[in-house]
């Protein structure tokens, strides 16, 4: 089955957006978790 350029470009954008979106969301969540614990104070391991 042949695909046109538009289909390939759409596919690239869709896959990259999904993968990068998931990655950034994961990093955001991890840092948010650390931030929340930082604000509470006491439980954070200060360097």
């Amino acid at each position: 089955m042949e695909y046109g350029n538009a289909a390939i470009i759409f596919m690239v954008i869709a896959v990259v957006a999904c993968v990068l979106g998931l990655t950034f969301f994961g990093v955001y969540c991890l840092n948010k978790f650390v931030d929340q614990n930082t604000r509470k104070g006491g439980s954070v391991r200060q360097p």
């Binding site: 089955m1 390939i8 990259v16 990068l20 990655t23 991890l30 840092n31 614990n37 391991r45 360097p47």
Partner: protein, 464 residues
């Protein structure tokens, strides 16, 4: 049930990897116990040394019976078997001595608060000498059955060195997971932070080693193509399971790494996350056991049994299906693009963290740049997944490229080196305006050079 050995040869193949590869992991845990002066970990190590010592008995007995069976096979060299037996009995005797010393020390100090340093050092010395002898024994042992290792390299398009490395490397994630799980469960029961961290590190290291194991396995497939007695269908069945193992390793490794990273910032573990790692590790070990079993079936006719028939269709399974799919442009191009994004994330993160360690941006404490490390780790996950799909598209061409082997080695070195940033106590205490310790600077340089080498190695594949 087919995983349960039904012959001495099969049992010997299984049990013999624990005293050899297992000792490497044991020494790692033991060194950590010394470095952290953790008494509970030292005692746990001594218990495991004693168990390894006991394993010398079934290893010897199964090896002896297996020799009797294999001596009937004209393809097996009696000289190699005799050499393996000689080295084997020496190393097993020393292993038994190591185990006995550990057991005596545990018994002697059963009521004492601290173990004797002299005895601990004696166990360490004995274990190191045993390991050296085990390396020779293992090497001679592998040559008994693996006749392909003696093929003339001039007649081979894909060098048998790949198969040789794969035979050795594939045992590391498997045995490593067994030892890490034992320590991990003990750590959870005893609530020992050092043992928890050490086990998590081993899970991450095993996950990283899964990458070169999979790559060398794919290369071995091409090296073994055309070799008499090797079935492509059996290889594909092993390859399919190896793919699931790679996913399992990735899940366990990333979850374990995230917990190490969070511990650095919070100073405590999340119980929920620790049990998630445990669940992933148990499932992955199960998948790995099946992968290992299928791998053993490829080149060990002596362990075949009628109740466990070998696959016959070389086109069946997941791997040939992905190979066919990824060869269509529409499926290939997006993953190649993801691969470049992954490299950008890895190198960007490695550059920022390494440059701070090397002395740039001293206005920031190290803990601030440590925050961005997950970005690089997720980049590694993206690239392992996308790189594996790209490899499927034309594995023979990629694996025979001059720069592919160094690229794979540098990925392993670079990924393991990054672990240092989340483990070093001295580096973590580097405040704004302070210089990082010299050892950390060496590691940072290694990280930068490794990942730069990975990118260069990858880009050179089509040209050299």
């Amino acid at each position: 049930m087919h995983l349960i050995p039904q012959s001495s040869s099969h049992f010997h193949l299984l049990v013999s990897i624990f005293p050899s590869i297992g000792l490497i992991f044991m020494l790692g845990f033991y060194a950590t116990a010394f470095a952290t002066d953790n008494e509970a970990m030292k005692r746990s190590c001594l218990v495991l040394f004693a168990i390894l010592g006991l394993l010398a008995i079934p290893t010897y007995m199964s090896g002896d019976r297996s020799m009797a069976v294999l001596s009937q096979d004209p393809k097996i060299s009696p000289d190699l078997m005799t050499t393996h037996f000689g080295w084997g009995i020496t190393s097993l005797a020393l292993l038994l001595l190591t185990g006995a010393t550990a057991l005596i020390e545990l018994w002697r100090c059963r009521h004492a608060k601290r173990l004797s340093n002299d005895a601990l050092h004696l166990v360490l010395g004995l274990a190191i000498v045993t390991l050296a002898l085990m390396v020779i024994t293992g090497e001679v042992g592998w040559e008994i059955n693996h006749h392909e290792l003696r093929l003339d390299p001039a007649t081979q398009r894909t060098p048998q060195a790949w198969s040789h490395v794969h035979i050795i490397l594939n045992h590391f994630p498997t045995v490593g997971f067994v030892f890490a799980l034992v320590f991990y469960i003990a750590a959870l029961v005893m609530n020992n932070v050092v043992m928890k961290r050490a086990s998590l590190v081993v899970f991450v290291v095993c996950a990283i080693l899964g990458v070169p194991t999979y790559v060398t396995g794919a290369a071995s497939m091409w090296a073994l193509t055309g070799v008499a007695g090797i079935s492509r269908a059996a290889i594909n069945a092993h390859r399919d399971m190896a793919l699931w193992t790679l996913f399992g390793l990735a899940f366990t490794g990333v979850t374990a790494w995230i917990e190490l990273w969070r511990f650095r910032h919070l100073g405590r573990f999340s119980n929920r996350a620790l049990y998630l790692v445990l669940a992933f590790a148990i499932i992955t070990l199960g998948v790995m056991a099946e992968t290992g079993h299928r791998g053993g079936q490829i080149n060990h006719p002596e362990i075949h049994v009628a109740t466990d028939p070998l696959p016959t269709d070389p086109k069946a399974g997941l791997s040939p299906a992905i190979e066919s799919l990824i060869n269509h442009v529409i499926w290939f191009v997006p993953w190649q693009t993801v691969h470049f994004f992954g490299f950008s994330l890895i190198f960007g993160t490695a550059l920022a963290v390494s440059l701070r360690v090397l002395g740039f941006w001293k206005s920031m404490p190290f803990s601030a740049v440590h925050r961005i490390l997950p970005l690089g780790v997720f980049g590694v996950v993206m690239n392992v997944f996308s790189g594996m799909l790209i490899l499927f598209a034309d594995s023979s061409r990629y694996l025979n490229a001059t720069t592919f082997a160094p690229k794979t080695a540098l990925i392993t070195i670079g990924a393991i080196a990054v672990l240092y940033f989340s483990l070093s106590e001295r580096l973590w205490t580097v405040k704004a305006g302070e210089d990082a310790p010299m050892s950390a600077k060496w590691v940072a340089a290694l990280v930068l050079l490794s990942w730069a080498g990975v990118i260069m190695g990858g880009r050179l594949i089509p040209y050299v």
